[in-house]
Symmetry: D2
Subunit: 463 residues, 4 copies
């Protein structure tokens, strides 16, 4: 089995920071100490750098059908881009076709990843509704396939939205099999009325995307999902939380002792409604759901990340090309929802979080790796630098300057929402199970080397 030695770095975990060398054997961390002088197949010098657990991105949409098009990255390009950004594990969403069984959807997504993924991956399962066999399928996925989390949508009527009765039954079903329920929390019914009214008034520009999905619709749905999860007595994870009003509901629930968790995404931290007013169709680049919010919301989210009520930063990576975005030229509701982000998550969060003094490097590790790994049943294999854990490591130069640009980033999409932004701090080298996959900007990985991860039950708060 190949061995590796990462020398002279400062190891940072979610609770520690210390100078040490790491010796890797069989893809796992075998020895931690100073001045280790063991022979190794690979030796990396991390002088002047930090050594972090590889990032864990628990919200991606690779190779996902979306109406007449699909998300622009598949598992090959998407996972490679992830690795370039320091992320070594993703959890993607399998979504059944209407009428398709969960197990069939799981197989479909397994096939999408097979032979392509360059880093390790797992799956959540989306639920469009609850049929006769759904409960049994949920149990089987949880028990046998390591798919331990299920997502429902309170938005997108006629497509993915479920009604409250279905959502509540899904919560009860998840409780039965010990799975975690994820919610896309927006009130799709209200939004639908607002969208139709806007279009009827000729309000077709991208900025009406945000105006027809006001924060109150997200806050309401968040509160409703929490109320139902509390009634069902089962944990809840609120994905891509975007605004202060929704966060307030999460915080209140947690103070009452409820098992409620939440994630936000970098775009909600760095971008705002102002971006929708960019000229021409440029605003379409920022169309995702929930939409971008105000700077006061950004502040609240940063406080939530620092203070503990937001435990996960994920990307909701769902890129569409500018050509795809142009489908909504005359009607914002036809712009495919989503934006690229899988590669830039850690750089943005380091720059805005750690460098700006909002939180320390330990919290950064918690938010990008340890927290999501624990919540989604990947820890301690992932998200940790500890003897026995997978040697998913990032050698991180806290001072490296990067100018974000579509041209130099590795996602398969022809724009970046952060085009031109300069961030400090980024990965110099990335190891997946002890193998160097990125080395000073050079790709060393290969498609198909990524392994499917059967996840355990996540470590949620007591319900």
């Amino acid at each position: 089995m190949p061995t590796a030695l990462v020398r002279n770095g400062r190891v940072v975990t979610a609770s520690e920071s210390y100078e040490a060398d790491l010796y890797v054997d069989g893809g796992r961390i075998a020895l931690v100490g100073q001045g280790l002088s063991l022979p190794a197949d690979t030796v990396l010098d991390a002088s002047g750098c930090l050594v972090l657990p590889g990032g864990v991105d628990v919200h991606t949409h690779l190779d996902m059908p979306a109406g007449e098009t699909r998300s622009a990255d598949d598992f090959e390009t998407g996972t490679r881009a992830a690795a370039f950004g320091g992320t070594t594990t993703i959890v993607d969403f399998a979504t059944p076709e209407p009428g398709q069984s969960l197990l069939a959807a799981f197989e479909t997504w397994m096939r999408k990843a097979e032979g392509k993924a360059a880093i390790d991956y797992g799956f959540h399962m989306a639920l469009r509704g609850l049929g006769e066999t759904t409960a049994a399928e949920m149990a089987r996925l949880t028990r046998d396939e390591g798919v331990t989390s299920f997502k429902l949508y309170l938005a997108y009527p006629g497509v993915l939205q479920v009604d409250d009765a279905t959502f509540f039954r899904a919560l009860l079903g998840a409780r039965e099999c010990g799975a975690l329920t994820l919610v896309h929390a927006e009130n799709g019914g209200v939004i639908d009325v607002l969208v139709k009214r806007a279009l009827a008034r000729g309000e077709t520009a991208p900025r009406y995307h945000a105006l027809t999905r006001p924060p109150e619709t997200e806050a309401e749905a968040t509160a409703r999902a929490i109320a139902m999860a509390a009634l069902a007595g089962t944990p809840l994870h609120v994905v891509h939380l975007s605004c202060a009003a929704a966060l307030a509901h999460v915080a209140a629930a947690r103070e009452r002792g409820l098992a409620v968790h939440a994630e936000t995404c970098p775009h909600y931290l760095f971008l705002s409604t102002a971006d929708y007013d960019r000229p021409g169709l440029d605003g379409a680049r920022y169309v995702m759901s929930p939409p971008l919010r105000e700077t006061a919301d950004q502040d609240a989210l940063w406080r939530g990340l620092a203070g503990g009520d937001l435990e996960v930063v994920a990307t909701d990576h769902c890129p569409f090309t500018l050509a795809d975005k142009a489908r909504g030229r005359d009607d914002f509701s036809r712009i495919p929802n989503g934006a690229p982000g899988i590669e830039t998550r850690m750089m943005l969060l380091w720059d805005g979080g750690v460098r700006s003094g909002r939180f320390d490097a330990q919290r950064f590790v918690e938010l990008t790796a340890t927290g999501p790994a624990r919540l989604f049943g990947l820890w301690p294999r992932k998200g940790a630098i500890a003897v026995g854990s997978d040697a998913d490591l990032v050698v991180w130069d806290p001072e490296r300057e990067t100018r974000l640009a579509a041209e130099t980033l590795h996602m398969r999409v022809d724009y970046s929402p952060y085009e031109g932004r300069i961030v400090r701090g980024g990965p110099v080298a990335v190891l997946s199970r002890g193998e160097v996959v990125v080395d000073h900007g050079e790709w060393k990985g290969r498609p198909g080397r990524g392994q499917f991860l059967k996840r355990s039950h996540g470590a949620t708060r007591p319900a």
Copy 2:
């Protein structure tokens, strides 16, 4: 025109209390002063008594179809019972049949009341959904017919429940025509799942009615309705609010300056879940929706009445005979929902509110007459003792003791939820537009003397 003189009483309004005689001419209050010595067709001596504005009950269900049966009081018996309790105005609910137009439903209810009502009455209109002509009908009812309030249900799936999109569109429609939206706030979807699970487990007794409609389902729906009303920019009235958790949402909304109003009912103030545990089918007598709650909820409601966040006490009078209640002998979900209350409202509230020191007589008048009259566009014709107002008056003996019992009460139903309870304070005489309709327990009114009230836009908080 006949005249009347009410002498020697203490007049109590929502803000005043003073000794004076009242002279009535043409059904209206003409003169207020001490020692009035005008000749009058009728002279009432109110010595030792208070003179209050006649009660305004804005939530009744007379002659209402309910599955295989109907509510036990029609407009004749119901309005007579109301008058016996000191209530001189009601606002009942017209509910279209599935597919029926609003205007047709209005006509139906007008016919139900015609020739029967012994006191004045108005109508709210219930909405089952929104068809193509609904908006126009709402506008016409509001403008031409004095039906200025519309009610929607977030409970009773498959029967009356509307989804969020419909509710939101109704709010926008009400805003358009300046009408007030009323909401029955319970999450019907969640409740439906809970009911089915309970029945599947063989939990069929009346107490499961309460256990399958937990306060969280009401609180959630209340919060959701408020959120949607805020988004629509239009006032909301929460009917029959029953629990502390829902009240907290109303209070928070009002503190934020929203135009949110709420009513509660006497049964939520005096009865509790303990009543469901009465032997045999006796618990069925207390089956209404929302169900009875805990004593801590009662305390919160009393505080809300005293402190201002609850502005209306109405009855939700919807009596069913014990034979009807027995339909649910083997299945609580088949018990017709509702209880009698139209006659006992003011006696109960005086005893529990004023006599217990929770609030003063002015607040009592506000809650039972002035507040509802203002909110529903009946003021100052109703709900006031003022020159020019209708002489709807109650001569109220604050010390009179009454033992509540089905046998002596006048509602057409064979039980009382308060059977045997002794209350102090009650009406000695009741005048409707200057005519004595109740005099020391004797009925002086007659069917058909009641007039339909075209209501104005209510005085809601600024939205």
Copy 3:
């Protein structure tokens, strides 16, 4: 006894609005009706006008010593100005000299008013501390002299400030005699440190008055006073509440059912910190404590007035001449604290409250007359238009335009904080106990006609 007739007006009380003539006999309202044709000594035509209860201003400082100077209005000029503004009752503060007994201070203030006051008046008593005889004096003042409210200061260390132990003992003492405790809620200790630091840095301009008394110091003291009153089990009235943060504490306390009341003043509704930046010493005109706040605070106060958590609008009238204000030319802490307002309260509140649609005319009456009269034991003699109440009446032209200016106002002070502001709505005639004291801008009253009011226990919320 002289009689009067006010004809053709629209009477507005805290709960009613109706067209009627009022007949006054013996200083009291004797008869209310339409088309009254009784002979009367005085006949006033109120056509096109409202007839309101005379205003009740429960926070004034007339003839008050203040360091080397004193407030510019005495009981003659102050009460005359009050009447010109529609106010017919004041409650002023008697403040003992250090070491002086409460009874002696009461006598002092009785003498100040005697022969001078042109409208009726009562007194609160300020407490500098608690001596051996204080409890007995409080009991006697409450029982025998109609001084039923006591005020303590949590600000002004070394002058009026009491420590928490003293404040708590005073609350217990007030509870003992059924009196109401008033609190000036600012954290004087913290403010004192901030003031000294500012001065040490050379920050001497008026605007540092506001910067050294930040809203947090008021919010903290408000919360503390509420906590102590709750522990003592006795009602509390927070005077001159100025900011959203303090109001939030009051609102939360009331929602918990505590007997907490609060007033604000017109200057907090219409002026803001921006006024401190006026050129030269002009900012000194706005130096009062608490200081002016931000416009967001104004909004919160208006909502509180409309929604019920603020029940009283008083003036804290405490005028100082520009010469007096100039004492603080080089040191903001030497500017005498206070501003004129006794005359402009009702005009400002009508314009900003009723005309702006923030609340209706009934609420205006509640805030300016009925509410304060009830809370401070003057009702129903004052604050009501009802048979038997004092005929303190204002004939109010809702459309009359007034340009506020020191020159035309009647307070004995050479500036107005509202100089040049145009308000609509104002008194045409003012009656005190049936006597016309102001008639179309002409003074008809006389010094000394005002009577001392022995107040009852106020109608506070249940503690």
Copy 4:
């Protein structure tokens, strides 16, 4: 330098859990790996056990004068008992005599510890007031002596209590030198009045200690301290928080992003007001300040520990013998305040926290070691198992059963508040800087081996 090897244990840190051997050299952790086979002076087998960072107890009162007596443990007995309980670092409080300089007090306490302490120790400094040299002394202690935290009391008038101005100035002073301010948050003024009233009524039994220090007095003082710290722009640490109401203020402050931290103590988690009703003088054993609270408070504190708003569990160890406690036989206010706890903290918290499923072993480490070490500037030397950290280690048997009893515990006090309670989980061996000081219940340490710790600035939340 001596070396040590801890083999076959499961290492638990605040974020990780893994099986590994630890090799210790020069008192520090040198190597972490599985199957380490290096020679070592000491070899410990941790099979079946966890290996935790040594506990850090940041709130102790050893050898402290208290009126006519002193706390029963000195630095020899106290630190030995600490070690027996798994605690390897304490931070004690140096308190100046009235008039004594801070530096002199520091010297006094250094002498108390010297030659006696068996584990490492640091000092906080208490402030009785602010003299002319205090700021300079604070700066010197922080910069030169590693005393980076200062404590003030809002309770104990006439003894330790400071007024708000002093507290605020101390906060500003602490901000100046980057120190952390600690607050004993009870409203001493109010309590003093309550105590005197109780005694005057003959209420002398121990339970009146709790009744005269109601939770509201703690909640109020907590809110006040937070408000002042926010105004001063400096972090605050609330020591020995005991009740839900105070915790709610801390939680709200943290949600607003304030740098507020809080600790609780085991007695507030396991004991309650019921203990004051024990027969005879037994209730005196539980007299400490704040007093014990209700079980609902316990629940809130456990939630706070699990959820993050409580970050530290410390002991407030301040034991008095039963003879000392008996001083208050006829007057609860003369019972010396305090109870033993330095030895039982970790056993109780493991049993009640981890075994009961309220939080996991990582959170236990965070609360007992890593959190306090970080907050008080001891990390990463203390509170961590990481290469380079002090080898302060506890070999912890998660299943070991201990019956708590004064006789077998090692604190120099003749009772235990937990007498007879059986807890599972406890230390098998304890290492301080690589030296075994406790081995299977046998004392291997020696007085004087403990070192004084110069602390850095703590890692507080951004202010």
